[in-house]
Symmetry: C2
Subunit: 199 residues, 2 copies
C-alpha cells in the first residue's frame, strides 16, 4: 500500500490537530451509537472541546460524516489503484487481498462509511458516489483484462465485480482482531477470488 | 422456502396485532434512524399507540430489538436448513441461492439485525449467537460433505463457509429492488459459490 493510503487512514492530513481530534471523536461516536444518536456535544466532548469550538472547524455534524466518508472512500480507492502486477491474475489477487486487509484494519471507519451513507446530504452523497463508481470500475477493468487475455472466464462481469468487492467490504461487519490477522484473511479472499473467475 | 420462513418473516406469528404493529414499526424506525436514536415514543407513534401502551407488549426497546433479531436469525437459519438436494453440489447451490434471495427480499430487517447486534443485552446476544453458530455449522457441513464426496476442494473450510455467508449477508447492505430481481442475484451467487469450492 502506498504512503498516501497510510496518511489518509491515519487522518494526518486533517489539520489543525483540533480538527483531527473532532474527526476521530466523530468516528468513535458514530460507530458506537450511530450517526443520528450522536450530538455535536458528544463529539466535542470526546475531543476535549466545547460544542461552540466544534463549529469553528465543522459547520455541522453532517459535514463531519461527509469528511469521514470522503476520505474513507478515497483511501479504499487508493488501495485498489496502487496495487502492482504484470498480469490480470496477479493484479486481481493483489487487489482483493489489499481491499480485504484494508477493511479488516479499518473496520470501524468502514462501518461508519458504509452504514451511514443515507445520512449524507444529496450533494455529498453524489460526490461520494463518484468514488464508489471508480472503485467498481477498477474491479470491472481487471476482470475485463483477464477475460481479454483469455485467463478469466466471467459470465456476469459487473455482478462478479460487485460480489468480489462485497466479500471484502463485509469483513468490516464481523472482523475482530482476535479472530485472525488481516493478512491471512486477505490471502484466503485472494485465493477464493481467483477461483470465482476460474483463473 | 418453507411456509415457516414466510410466516416468520411476515411476523404473522407475533400476536396480538398491536404487538405486531409495534414490532414492524420498530424495524422501520431502527432501519431509518438507528437503534440508539429511536425512542419508544417513535415506535409507539408508528403503531398508532401511546408510549404507555407499548409497555403492555414489550418491557423495553431492547426487548423489541431482541425479538426482531431472534426471528430474523430463526428465519435465516430456516432458509438454509430447508433446502433440498441429493448431492452436496445441489445443496450448496440451493443454500447460497436461497440465502442471497432472503437477504435481498428482507434487506431492511437484515440490516437492523446485523448492524445493531451490539445493542443487545449480553444474555440476548448469547441467545442470538447460538443461531449464528448453527447457520455457520450448516454451511460448514455442506462443504465438509462435498470434500468427503470428493466433489469439493476446500483449503480453509471455516473461512470459506464464512466467505460464502458473507457474500449473501452483504446483499442487505447494497440491495435495491430497482437493481435486479432477487432470484437473478441468487443464481449468480450460487454459480460463484460452486466455483469457490471448485465443484
Amino acid at each position: 500500500m502506498s504512503a498516501i493510503t497510510t496518511a489518509l487512514t491515519d487522518w494526518e492530513h486533517v489539520q489543525p490537530p483540533a480538527a483531527r481530534r473532532l474527526l476521530t471523536g466523530a468516528i468513535a461516536a458514530f460507530a458506537e451509537r450511530g450517526y443520528q444518536a450522536t450530538t455535536t456535544r458528544d463529539i466535542a466532548s470526546r475531543a476535549g472541546m466545547s460544542p461552540a469550538a466544534l463549529y469553528v472547524h465543522y459547520s455541522s455534524k453532517e459535514k463531519l460524516l461527509f469528511e469521514i466518508s470522503l476520505y474513507g472512500h478515497k483511501a479504499a480507492l487508493d488501495v485498489l489503484s496502487s496495487v502492482e502486477g504484470s498480469t490480470p491474475t496477479e493484479r486481481l489477487q493483489a487487489m482483493v487481498s489489499a481491499f480485504t486487509v484494508w477493511h479488516a484494519e479499518h473496520h470501524t471507519v468502514a462501518r461508519v462509511v458504509q452504514y451511514e451513507l443515507a445520512a449524507l446530504s444529496p450533494d455529498h452523497l453524489a460526490e461520494v458516489a463518484t468514488y464508489r463508481r471508480s472503485i467498481s470500475a477498477l474491479m470491472e477493468k481487471v476482470l475485463a483484462d483477464g477475460v481479454s487475455a483469455g485467463t478469466f472466464q466471467v459470465d456476469d462481469l459487473p455482478g462478479t465485480a460487485l460480489a468480489l468487492l462485497s466479500l471484502s467490504i463485509d469483513v468490516a461487519r464481523w472482523y475482530s482482531p482476535a479472530r485472525q490477522p488481516p493478512e491471512a484473511l486477505g490471502s484466503l479472499h485472494a485465493a477464493l477470488a481467483l477461483r470465482m473467475v476460474q483463473a
